[in-house]
Assembly symmetry: C2
Homo-oligomer: 339 residues x 2
């Protein structure tokens, strides 16, 4: 094990960044100067940023550093896709305890580089610093948007169909599972966590993917959403963002919510409401979007996209229509780490 | 006092960002969506990022939050100016303890907004989160560069003149002064720190400015530096970056180093080497740049710029010529927070 304190800041940064390859022609200059230089000819520049703090956003007892690096990058890419853009560059700042090993940091960077390779993104800068306490990660992602095709949250229209990619609640169930096994483990030496048949839930929590494929699919089918957001806080919170910023209401149908078999099994095992998990479980990183109602058949023909309801007038409120026909108002729960 | 925990994340972000004005036509959309949208027509996009952690980069016992906000923004602007660019947008992520008050965060944002107002920069996004421990600040700045006029670190040429703006070592002396008064204070109730006649040192440490004026001055005089960097780690470290990345050596002259009267007085009071403070004291945020030797007279005519030496062949090494004519090799000390 090599202590990072033994390397010094400049050597460490050099060591961590020397394996970085640049892929995009828009990246004129990456790491190594006061600033990176990027050139997007006639495009929109999209910028998003995420701060991940140990103990708040992740728990190193069960999150492998490689996965953490992967996820830290992917959640930013997801925000760019949610604007109908393509992620192109990221900057990565990390604050680490001096007791962290160089090998541990390399694990983190391996995950980061893997995500960048898969999504075609360049690492163009960052900052590395000591932290007196936990691990602190800040990633900023730049993306490219076609002018006129950038999709916002506040442009949903009355009667638009509400669509969601993939399935809901699995990442949340994965987190519950990890928390349970951590409690059971409690320092026991020969403990083996019981994850059989729940691999999908773990993957959704530990190694989520951003829905580049859905953005491609929509483009290939000439579907430009009227509004779009990625699901990080949970369907309920994120749909409320679209509604409130578009000055609209919505009706979504409980029976239409896409849920995986493993998520359903786990909810039963935990004796939790499956619908609550689907509505308020965060970190799905699926895309939630609206399209004009005339696109109904086009959407129906797409694999991996489900229509779950429609946009209505603001005065009608934001409601879930339960299986028994009752209307339940949607509430913003999300992940309030400050409460 | 309003505890941030009482507000909730969404309300807090809204509260902190509602006073934000957008100034730049390049800012198409700021906060409030998955990503900001920026449009630079036919320009270079410059990107830089800085991570500031409590206990490592700042000490809240003597750094007022308003100043911290100001400085956090300005150090990023400085990196953009060091590329011969203009800062245009920043994203601001903060991790704060739940015990932090909303008023304290407002102080931080007041400083941040003031810096943005003075330098003409838009706040376009960010992230706000709880932190289990200290205050954590991550700022990413986007800037605009004229194609072909972006100035890098690795393009200094043999015989180029080495120039520096302003004066050196004052921010470091300001830090020493603050640390001394903190030790003397040591919880005493009626303690009044002794800062008389040392205001300049404190200002350089607590409220540094980025040298927009120097970048303007060079442009107005048709001077395009061959290389440039901002002084964050200290003259010695930062000049070594230019030399090593340009595959060059340098000679700088002790007697030419620009030093303010207050810095000199303080060094004497502390019985410290003034030259060491000028060479290795960080956080001056002055611009260090090189120009062709033919520009000698043009540079000499500029206020606030000093020629301190010249670039030579790499084989000649990187040396300070002391007042007595001896050659002293420059060494990278900088601020190694990891060591």
């Amino acid at each position: 094990m090599t202590e990072i304190a033994s390397m010094g800041e400049f050597a460490l940064i050099k060591h961590l960044t020397e394996k970085i390859e640049l892929r995009n022609t828009s990246t004129v200059r990456g790491t190594g100067d006061d600033a990176a230089v990027i050139r997007y000819e006639g495009k929109d520049v999209l910028v998003t940023t995420d701060l991940l703090l140990e103990g708040i956003h992740f728990d190193l007892t069960y999150v492998p550093l490689k996965h953490l690096g992967y996820k830290a990058a992917v959640v930013n890419f997801s925000d760019i896709y949610a604007m109908n853009g393509r992620p192109r560059q990221i900057t990565v700042s990390i604050g680490v305890s001096k007791r962290f090993s160089v090998e541990a940091l390399e694990e983190f960077y391996t995950g980061l580089r893997l995500a960048c390779e898969i999504y075609g993104v360049d690492i163009v800068g960052g900052d590395t610093s000591a932290s007196l306490t936990g691990l602190c990660i800040s990633i900023t992602c730049l993306g490219e948007g076609e002018k006129g095709n950038t999709v916002y949250r506040n442009t949903a229209n009355n009667t638009d169909l509400i669509c969601v990619s993939g399935d809901l609640g699995a990442a949340y169930m994965g987190l519950q599972l990890l928390e349970r096994e951590k409690t059971v483990f409690n320092g026991e030496k020969d403990f083996t966590p019981d994850f059989a048949g729940k691999e999908y839930l773990l993957e959704r929590q530990l190694k989520p993917e951003a829905r580049k494929d859905i953005v491609d699919l929509l483009r290939d089918n000439n579907i430009l959403p009227t509004s779009m957001i990625d699901l990080s806080d949970g369907l309920s919170s994120d749909l409320l963002h679209i509604c409130r910023e578009s000055n609209a209401g919505c009706r979504i149908y409980e029976e239409r919510l896409p849920i995986d078999y493993q998520t359903a099994m786990m909810a039963e095992e935990f004796n939790m409401s499956l619908t609550t998990a689907a509505l308020n479980g965060g970190e799905d990183y699926e895309l939630l979007f609206t399209v004009p109602v005339a696109m109904h058949e086009k959407i129906e023909a797409l694999d991996g996209v489900t229509m779950i309801g429609f946009i209505c007038e603001a005065s009608a409120g934001e409601n879930l229509i339960a299986r028994d026909g009752t209307e339940v108002p949607l509430t913003a729960q999300g992940w309030n780490s400050l409460a």
